[in-house]
């Protein structure tokens, strides 16, 4: 039932997306910058506020919906993707965003995470990865590094961390990207691309938790080292990086290598050219493995964006088809179906 009458599209500003609730993150938390970037970017999309639903689980990051002056649902730990799935199937016209943490999505919520990506519902998924459980005061998370000392691992964690992008690619995700709290410009572009994608758009956002895991991404965000250690993926462009833009990524077989463009051996034409739209996820998987190799820069931007049927749209189509073929159902015919007899 749609009791809702469409309102004309209104031109909005960042302020329109700010709710009246006091923000409850620690001063200095990376979550602030993500919130501001989202609030700054949404007005570009020419959609009224009422069309947005922000759905989160539990964690510091998951308080996000309270600060957005849109519809919002702060649900339970790990279940945001499943709840968002129901929202989107019920009403595919809504613009649904999931906001979650590394614990929320990859620990307790791991199953819903992999399934929402598989089903490719048309929703946006922001995973704030601070590599720690923030809200419960600092235990290691599935993205914490091996050997990490925390309250629950006083002698160092025995676990090997997930590579969230590789996990997503393993499930067949159609859109996979990475952004960083300290790089709002790239974040904004990634959010735009995610919005424009039809299907589940997964964005890993590196986020600093200055209380329990300060500096986890420092080498990637620090002004001095940032350009040497990150690689911006731009569709159709060769993979160049470095402060002096004198380095690039060359593919040797399926192995990416960082090469120096100044030394004469390699030129830009030898570099891998980024193509986010190849159907085969292998290229994106190769990018994902670059973070495992200390000799290679960490890619940011959109790794992969391909088109495939969306569950919610396909469901709509199937229902329309059924109505078309069988006629829209009505109670009387429903109740009187099959063999009947009359008692007088």
């Amino acid at each position: 039932m749609s009791a809702v009458t469409e309102a004309p599209v209104i031109k909005l500003t960042k302020k329109d997306f700010e709710s009246d609730q006091d923000i409850r993150w620690c001063p200095g938390c990376g979550d602030y910058s993500i919130l501001a970037t989202v609030q700054r970017t949404l007005p570009e999309f020419s959609l009224n506020k009422e069309k947005y639903v922000f759905v989160s689980g539990i964690g510091c990051s998951s308080r996000f919906p309270y600060y957005m002056n849109t519809y919002g649902f702060h649900t339970i730990h790990g279940r945001a993707p499943a709840i968002a799935t129901g929202i989107k199937i019920a009403n595919p016209d809504l613009n649904v965003w999931v906001v979650s943490g590394d614990g929320d999505s990859l620990s307790i919520g791991g199953n819903h995470f992999i399934h929402v990506l598989r089903r490719n519902l048309d929703l946006k998924y922001l995973l704030f990865n601070n590599r720690i459980y923030g809200l419960t005061k600092g235990q290691y998370s599935p993205t914490s590094e091996h050997g990490k000392v925390t309250k629950s691992s006083p002698m160092g964690s025995l676990e090997h961390s997930f590579n969230p992008i590789a996990v997503a690619l393993g499930t067949g995700a159609t859109f996979v990207a990475r952004a960083m709290d300290r790089d709002p410009k790239n974040m904004q572009e990634v959010i735009r691309a995610a919005h424009n994608h039809r299907g589940t758009a997964f964005v890993e956002i590196y986020q600093n938790c200055n209380i329990f895991n300060d500096g986890a991404f420092e080498s990637l965000t620090d002004k001095e080292t940032k350009l040497e250690n990150t690689l911006l993926l731009e569709h159709g462009k060769p993979l160049v990086f470095g402060k002096a833009r004198n380095k690039g990524i060359h593919l040797k077989g399926f192995k990416p290598e960082a090469v120096n463009l100044d030394e004469g051996k390699y030129s830009v034409s030898d570099l891998l050219v980024h193509d986010m739209s190849v159907n085969d996820p292998t290229l994106a998987f190769i990018y994902s493995q670059m973070t495992e190799d200390p000799g290679l820069p960490t890619p940011i931007g959109v790794f992969r964006a391909i088109t495939r049927g969306c569950y919610d749209q396909d469901m709509r189509t199937q229902i329309a088809f059924a109505k078309d073929r069988l006629g829209a159902g009505n109670i009387t015919s429903l109740l009187n179906k099959g063999d009947t007899w009359v008692v007088e």
């Binding site: 279940r79 819903h112 007899w341 008692v343």
Partner: protein, 613 residues
Amino acid sequence: MASDAVKTLDEVTIRFAGDSGDGMQLVGTELTNTSALFGNDVGTLPDYPAEIRAPIGTLAGVSGFQLHIGSFDIHTPGDEVDVLVAMNPAALKANIKALKPNGVLIVNAESFDEKGLKLAALTSNPLEDGSVDAYQTFKVQMSSHTKAALKETGLDFREMERSKNFFALGMIYWLFNRPMETTIKFLQDKFAKKPKLAEANILALRAGHSYCDATEAFVNSYEVNPAKLPPGKYRNLGGNEATALGLIAASQKSGLELFLGSYPITPASDILHTLAKYKNFGVKTFQAEDEIAAVAAAIGASFAGDLAITSTSGPGLCLKSEAINLAVMAELPLIIIDVQRAGPSTGLPTKTEQADLLQAMYGRNGESPVPIIAASRPGDCFETAYEASRIAVKYMTPVLLMTDGYIGNGAEPWLIPDSDSLPEFTAKFATNKEGFAPYARDQKTLARPWVIPGTPGMEHRIGGLEKKNIEGTVNYEPDNHDYMCRIRAAKIANIVNDIPPIEIFGPESGELLIVGWGGTYGAIRTAVERCQKKKMKVSRLHLHWINPFPKDFGDILRKFKYVLVPEVNLGQLVKLIRAEYLVDAHGLSKITGQPFTAGEIETKIAEILSAKK
């Protein structure tokens, strides 16, 4: 069908038993439909093995279908069996105890060979060692007769053998003077694309019938006259299907779109299967990755404005409990269906039980009141599902709808309601911005407004943290939490205003009151009616709503000297009654995975009343 010795019976109970590959459920269902169409009242009890295909011929593989046919309003699948059809030694062994002394036993004699006996772990042949002397035994070479009848079909022997269930059904049709047309038509439809199979089964059916005619095997045949059921149009309806139809009716009537989030589990899966067929009613079925995702998606759909359902059985209900609590806090409509099965843990997945009641009532952290409604018969699942939906939306609350494997898998003739006669059910989304607050409450129902995303100007946030009264923002104030816990409880208690007074069958006060809920309905009713006929002083009532209890329940209870609560558990409703009313109610427990028989309850009634004297 020459015999003029047609005896008229008031009722008869027939059980087909064979290997799970023998098609017993199929012929049982055919006899059910034929009898229902003929105008009898019927009650059924399918009983199939836990395995998909247990080893052929073994005890583990026995599949049974029991059918009670009556010329009056019957309420159970029958206590004792009048006619047992046993297709192999294992089926005989597993079922013979149920057959009445001097009952009719029809066996496929050919299966009682050495191999068959060994598979059934029998050391001697029961057809020869005196085991079946107490019955009217008919040993029929069903396999051979079937093959003979099918020899022209061009099927091979193994294929022919498959039709022997219809040979058996043909015999029963002869024995009870049933018309064969419905079944013939059914077979033609079912095997429209495999006409050879249709033909083979029809030939076998006719052969079984003719066999009786020709051999005059039976001295008598029987008839069971049509029942004097309330006038109207009927169909045969299974419990899980009735639940699905009730939900669709609620969706159609309210104008809300139906969303089901479910994960398959025995014996609830058929609700998913049935709803999945009704896409043209706009029904959205989502087969989730697990029970948590199933209920979570339903909560999301409810938030977005759908009539949201999740269906499961006991182990699944465990998994849903955390999310149900979110719906309690968020005050969103949601229907959770628990088709109970025997627990604890995986338990006996294909057997019935009523042991999830206290879980439904209390199985969530914190003070988490959820209304509970229970269906009592297959057909009644329809109105129960409809009512659960209506209350969920009216009071903005999750509702637990309890059925069980017995009524979910059972079927009965169902008086088709006129769609106009269904209770009024309007759903309204709030759209008025003026003075809107997400946790402001309706004065009468204490429900908060349902505002769905997409509504301009009413953007708001909800969630699982405690909410400030009216504003609905996150709130940690001590008094607010106390207030909100109490108002949530009051809202559910308040549903009592929607519950009609209890109907008591029998005297309104006196010696003995039987209180039932759910699937014990038929057995209790039959037992009490039998006792009442014998002039015993016993009354009964059956609860539809368990939380809240109806208003007049306490007063009624106190008017009886003895209150008995039969349950297929170790005493759950009885605990709630005792705690609430301090009435010394007694439980009668049976927890065998089987429903009560009327006889068991009858015996207990007699025992109590004679002790009282």
